[in-house]
Amino acid sequence: MAQAPALPRGFELPLEPRLPRIGSVDQVALEERSATLAKRSIKREAKLFALELAVRMTDLTTLEGADTPGKVAALASKAVRPDPADPTIPSAAAVCVYPNLVPTALEKVKGSTVKVASVATAFPSGQSPLDLKVEEARRAAEMGADEIDMVIDRGAFLSGNYARVYEEVRQIKEAVGSVHLKVILETGELGTYDNVRRASLLAIAGGADFIKTSTGKIQPAATLPVTLVMLEAVRDVYEETGRKIGVKPAGGIRQAKQAVQHLVAVNETLGPEWLTPDLFRFGASSLLNDVLLQIRKEKTGRYQSPDYFTLD
């Protein structure tokens, strides 16, 4: 990792010796490509494969002011065993909660493969002093979170202060050490695909293990073109440096069909190597039940009432 250089406002100097050039994104062509990917017709075994993978990639999320230990415990239990009626269904990847609820979640997922992710750094706005944000991330990690989901300071980014965004990511990565760091770009506030690409490369240069689209508090959240831009940025970094960065679309993915479309995009952009929860996640809550419903349909040939799937 390069030392933090003093960056001029243009952000065209490479932050790492071999970081790819920033480049640009053409909106029309990008959206056309993502529409083509969305039209792939995924059937039978391929569909079942994608649906089960989607379950294993889900970060089951609750980020409300009204979250209680009871709510989080229910969610964590669901993550461990998503479908009590079908033991072959794998566990979700993680539960994603506020720092105060990390201990509750840890307690519930103990002994399973499910990880606990905590948001931090003045989520969702990121508009707090840096030392507080660093401290919050450190504390969340100390409380036992396996993964920290931080937000970037969009105010700094949009005013052209890229160096500050980079520096924050770098300091927070330093503070959380080996804990997995996901950096939320909040793409719905960035305005252009060019900015999404720029913010992705900035976060990766700062030390992100994962880049994540959204907090879920802003619309639009994850869309297929946005995810595609991030996948392409990750691919460029991988080809230049060999570093494997994960991608997490979060918010707005509610249907199994959308999840499958995202997996097609991963498959055709980064290849099957990225088809693992270590490198791709869905941040969602209502998605899981639709995926379970579709899996049941693939296995039995019949749709069941949503009442047969637990609401948590």
Binding site: G23, V25, D26, R44, F49, E239, N267, P277, D278
Partner: protein, 492 residues
């Protein structure tokens, strides 16, 4: 090791995401065993007495037998078209003509799945393309020209536009229905009647289109379809009672037609071959440029006259761009045209496949480096893997001649001037592509490139309102837009 660390131990094994076959059903298409010629609103037996099979290039399966028209049949068709022109079609209220065209457009939309399946079956192009490109565009052309039918006076103010008479139209096999729409829609909107000859290898959608004409209640004789080979084409071009000849196809045949028409007073438009330059500057949005390059050359197996078959890359981005391109080519899915996930279908005919192979062999012999991604081609049928040649010199045959297949030749340049010079250094001049983030450069390139169409940050994008046609050996005359209407009118 803490409990937490243990939980992180799991390392999932990535496995391949193989898409299961997703074929579009053939059931929707009801094929006849044998087709006659469509003359005067009826299917008639050819007087030539000749029928030939049409086959599916993906399986070599015989789909149907199709009539091969002789000079006598062509004469009959032109006579019927002349009669229909004189007895009503040329002077019915223009609003009525518009109604027929709108009706045809709507029926095409309603029956688009049927047409798309048949187009892929007979021509070998992926269903994804016939469904998403050929059919919507065909309907759009009829809608567009339907709108002009009763507004010709406004389209050409103070010039008293009048129809010409009988239009003889000959279309190629790469976009059978779309080329039919490009030809028939403006001709009818202007008040002409038509005799159209589809290509010998892809006649079926044109024959199904006759069914649409009957459904739309178009008066008999206004559109006549004569299937057959070059003999029928020659008879049609040379027929004395034809007022206008429109041809899309090879430069070679185009030249013969121009000779045949010389001195006869027949109006002529030719849309011929191309060897388009797709120019990528170093500030281009790379990932999208890759999509544009792929779409430029591998769209419809490269059977596109405006295909971006010469890629001109600025040297400073040559390596990353080629690496990205090769990677992307590895994700192209070659196979069953009716599978909804197929990106590249079958080569249209055995003859075309031979031509592609011959030119690719020439490229290797001349010293270019060839790359093809790993892909399993079906055993039956005619196939060619997507191919890219690097280290190509301007003097190689693969940089000069139209290959009309999924074969890309890559050249480099250093400055915008050099790009223009190389792009224009060809006998053709149909289309070009420019990829850059700089708006001013797009405009200056568009002015300097001698090509009928210049795409900026996109490729192979068509619209009925936009004129299409070439310079030099790519032909003359325009199709689409008002420019496409004028060749079907005379002005008093």
């Amino acid at each position: 090791m803490t409990d937490l660390d243990k939980r992180q131990d799991r390392s999932p094994v990535p496995s391949a995401f193989d898409y299961a076959p997703a074929p579009e059903s053939r059931e929707i298409v009801a094929l006849e065993e044998r087709y006659g010629l469509f003359i005067g609103g009826e299917y008639v037996e050819p007087r030539s007495g000749e029928h030939q099979p049409t086959v599916s290039p993906a399986t070599e399966e015989e789909l149907a037998e199709v009539a091969y028209a002789g000079a006598e049949d062509v004469d009959l068709a032109v006579g019927v078209a002349r009669e229909a022109f004189a007895n009503g079609w040329s002077d019915i209220a223009p609003g009525e003509r518009a109604k027929y065209l709108f009706r045809i457009a709507r029926i095409l939309q309603e029956r688009s799945r049927e047409f798309a399946v048949l187009e892929s079956l007979d021509g070998g192009k992926p269903i994804r393309e016939s469904r998403d490109v050929d059919l919507p565009l065909s309907a759009a052309h009829f809608f567009y020209y339907a709108g002009w039918a009763d507004k010709l006076e406004y389209a050409f103010p103070n010039r008293s536009p009048r129809p010409l008479g009988v239009a003889a139209q000959i279309i190629p096999w790469n976009f059978p229905l779309l080329m039919l729409a490009w030809k028939i829609a403006p001709a009818l909107a202007a008040g002409n009647t038509v005799v159209l000859k589809p290509a010998e290898s892809t006649p079926l959608t044109a024959l199904l289109f006759c069914d649409v004409l009957r459904q739309a209640d178009l008066p008999p004789g206004v559109v006549n379809i004569v299937t057959g080979d070059g003999r029928a084409g020659a008879a049609l071009v040379e027929h004395e009672d034809v007022d206008k000849v429109a041809f899309t196809g090879s430069t070679e045949i185009g030249k013969e037609i121009q000779k045949a028409v010389a001195g006869t007073g027949k109006k002529l438009t030719l849309e011929l071959g191309g060897k388009a330059a797709n120019i990528v500057f170093d500030d281009a949005p790379l990932d999208q440029a890759i999509e544009g390059i792929v779409n430029g050359i591998y769209f419809n197996q490269g059977h596109v006259c405006c295909a971006g078959s010469r890629l001109l890359v600025q040297e400073s981005i040559y390596e990353p761009l080629i690496a990205k391109l090769k990677r992307r080519m590895g994700t192209l899915r070659v196979g069953d045209p009716l599978d909804k996930n197929t990106d590249i279908g079958a080569i249209n005919s055995k003859q075309q496949l031979e031509k592609i192979k011959e030119l690719v062999a020439a490229g290797e012999e001349e010293g270019a480096e060839v790359f093809q991604p790993e892909c399993r081609l079906p055993e039956r049928g005619w196939w060619f893997a997507p191919t890219v040649f690097t280290s190509v010199a301007q003097s190689y045959r693969i940089a000069q001649e139209e290959i009309f297949g999924p074969v890309l030749s890559v050249l480099t340049f250093r400055t915008p001037d050099e790009a223009v010079e190389k792009a224009n250094n060809t006998a053709y001049g149909l289309s070009a592509g420019v990829w850059t983030e700089k708006g001013s450069r797009i405009l200056s390139m568009a002015q300097q490139l001698r090509a009928g169409v210049v795409w900026a940050n996109t490729y192979n994008r068509f619209d009925p309102t936009s004129p299409f046609g070439g310079y030099k050996e790519s032909g003359f005359g325009r199709e689409g837009g008002l420019h496409g209407l004028a060749p079907y009118l005379r002005f008093e």
